[in-house]
């Protein structure tokens, strides 16, 4: 059919796919070139997450499950960066493990290196591997490994090694980060940054210490069930969650780098949602005009 002969109603209902794709591409790309400050009202779940992390005593060690890779870096990297910045500022040690993907430890190490470079540039002491944090590594059998961690964390981590300052590999349990950990309850919190269902596996098996979750936007509704039931003490969901944490950090640490991925990408999310809402309205408008015309 010749598109010039289409009525307005038909035109509104049959926008070409390519046009929609171009509009979305342009709308989501433009904000990446500008800094657009957006007012924000932090969600209760994000505030709880932030406050629970702030409660962790200085010098203690938290357990982090870094279960994300570059596939979800738009959201997960922002969550992880914000989390590490808070922990490092509070001088909290951390042990990082993953049960999700063999690529995950590298993604985690890249972020730690990024934050350390930032600290060096700001004339702050970088976080030292082995002394301040350890990389426990990847466990291929997530459910079995999480059971082991819950039952006997020393035994579960016994054959995991990391580099000490002498350049040799040593069991992670001998590191200053983990040497005082006898059982999983000795960690003040388990913080899971994930883009997959590893959070479910952990919630089902580890129930003896506070669990905090940082998940992608699509996982939010499912994980919110555990937050409202109290099984999860704090929940950061997607880009909105990242921006929530960054704006909360801005209040407590006004002189330091706080606004990063959340502030950069939140305007993009706005415009993507605007495009989505407008196209849905256009489609429905076309449908109503078409109905009105056929009734007449």
């Amino acid at each position: 059919m010749d598109p010039t002969n289409l009525s307005l109603a038909e035109k509104l209902q049959s926008l070409p796919k390519s046009a929609l794709y171009i509009i979305l591409f342009v709308a989501t790309s433009i904000p990446l070139f500008f800094t657009i400050p957006i007012p924000n009202k932090e969600s209760k779940a994000s505030i709880d997450f932030y406050q629970e992390v702030q409660k962790v005593p200085e010098g203690s060690t938290v357990l982090i499950a870094s279960d994300w890779t570059n596939a979800t870096r738009g959201e997960s990297a922002g969550e992880y960066k914000a989390l590490l910045r808070i922990l490092m500022r509070k001088k909290v040690k951390f042990a990082v493990y993953t049960t999700a993907d063999p690529q995950a430890p590298q993604a985690s190490k890249d972020v730690i290196r990024f934050i350390n470079d930032e600290r060096v540039a700001a004339k702050q002491k970088p976080y030292e591997r082995w002394t301040d944090w350890v990389n426990v590594g990847y466990f291929p059998n997530g459910e079995g490994a999480t059971n082991s961690i819950a039952s006997n964390v020393r035994s579960a981590f016994a054959d995991k090694k990391d580099f000490s300052p002498d350049g040799a590999l040593h069991p992670v349990m001998e590191s200053p980060v983990l040497k005082n950990i006898q059982k999983v309850e000795d960690f003040p919190a388990l913080i899971i940054v994930t883009g997959s269902n590893t959070s479910n596996v952990a919630i089902e098996r580890i129930n003896s210490l506070p669990i905090l979750l940082a998940v992608t936007g699509v996982m939010g509704p499912e994980m919110n069930v555990y937050y409202t039931s109290g099984q999860v003490k704090g929940l950061v969901t997607g880009l909105k969650g990242v921006y929530d944490i960054e704006t909360l950090m801005q209040k407590d640490y006004p002189d330091q780098v706080n606004l990063d991925n959340g502030a950069k990408y939140y305007p993009t999310l706005h415009l993507a949602l605007v495009v989505l809402i407008v196209t849905v309205i256009i489609g429905n408008l076309g449908m109503f005009l078409g109905r009105k015309r056929s009734e007449a």
């Binding site: 969600s43 890779t69 596939a71 690529q103 054959d159 006898q182 059982k183 409202t228 909105k240 989505l276």
Partner: protein, 301 residues
């Protein structure tokens, strides 16, 4: 590299790294494993099913016992059991890491099986130059390149040079090659594939999200409220417009956040809990059928 590093010598399941006890256990396990394998291969067909059913039951029984048997409370290294049930609890708890390692090793075999399957299928396709054999060639070449540079990179990071490799200035050709292929290509393509979903969602929403019935209208209105609540600027503007910035009094119930919270807590969460509950019961039923070898495919050998 100490490949035989084990948990501290504190139970039947753990022997000191490099000790004669450890080598003895390894040797016994090897002999038993070989005997079981040959036994299975030479067993009459009618005996194979009971053997597989028995092994499946014993494997499942471990986790069932672990869950239901009273577990040691506040156990510290050196604590001894005071009764037989206590000793069983200790034994099960100690065995858990070893059993988890069994599962990890089996997962490793799955990886090997996957590689074998890929090489067999795509190797044949390339050899016979079947339709789209070029894609198979790219897949095989990618796999070989990632294995070669990934392994080279891993080896270069072992030993005294390990910590230095965190600094890019100390990288060699193999490290840059791994970085290019893994971080530069694979990871970026991974992220790009995920991003493409946004375009499909937009296209699908435009075509399918139409107000054709009461149900569709409710769905659209709900989705609209949730989407708007994700937009800080809209949320802020709405709160200002209804004089609820900061929120106070009865009007607080009409902020986008409050409406969204009401929808999430009273509609979404109960629905998801119901679905999760159904999935849980289904998984339990399926687990029981597999454990007791009631599934035909699980019990035949």
């Amino acid at each position: 590299m100490d490949l035989l590093a084990q948990v501290p010598p504190e139970s039947f399941w753990s022997q000191a790294s490099g000790s004669s006890g450890l080598y003895m256990h390894v040797a016994i396990a090897l002999i038993v494993g070989i005997a079981v394998m040959f036994g299975l291969m030479n067993a009459p067909t009618r005996l194979r099913r009971p053997i597989v059913v028995g092994l499946t039951f014993i494997s499942g029984l471990f986790y069932v016992l672990l869950y239901f048997w009273p577990a040691p409370i506040a156990r510290t290294p050196g604590t001894l059991p005071v009764s037989t049930p206590d000793a069983v609890g200790f034994w099960l708890s100690d065995a858990l890491t070893v059993v988890a390692n069994f599962s990890s090793i089996l997962s490793g075999f799955l990886l090997g099986l996957g590689i074998y399957s890929l090489v067999r299928i795509h190797g044949r396709k390339i050899a016979k130059q079947q339709k789209d054999w070029g894609f198979s060639a790219v897949l095989m070449a990618s796999m070989v390149i990632m294995i070669v540079f990934g392994y080279g990179d891993w080896i270069s990071k072992l030993g005294a040079n390990g910590p230095k490799m965190d600094n890019q200035a100390n990288w060699g050709f193999v490290n840059y090659a791994r970085d290019f292929f893994f971080d530069g290509m694979l990871q970026q393509m991974d992220a790009a594939m995920f991003s493409v979903i946004a375009f499909y969602i937009l296209s699908a929403a435009y075509r399918a999200f139409r107000i054709r019935s009461i149900e569709a209208t409710i769905l659209l209105a709900t989705a609209l409220i949730v989407m708007l609540s994700l937009m800080g600027a809209v949320e802020f503007g709405w709160a200002n417009a209804i004089g609820q910035n900061p929120p106070h009094g009865f009007g607080e119930n009409f902020t986008l956040t409050s409406i969204k919270t009401f929808i999430v807590d009273n509609v979404q969460n109960p629905s998801l809990r119901g679905i999760d509950f159904g999935i849980g019961i289904g998984a339990l039923a399926m687990g029981l059928r597999l454990w007791l070898s009631l599934e035909k495919a699980g019990g035949t050998a």
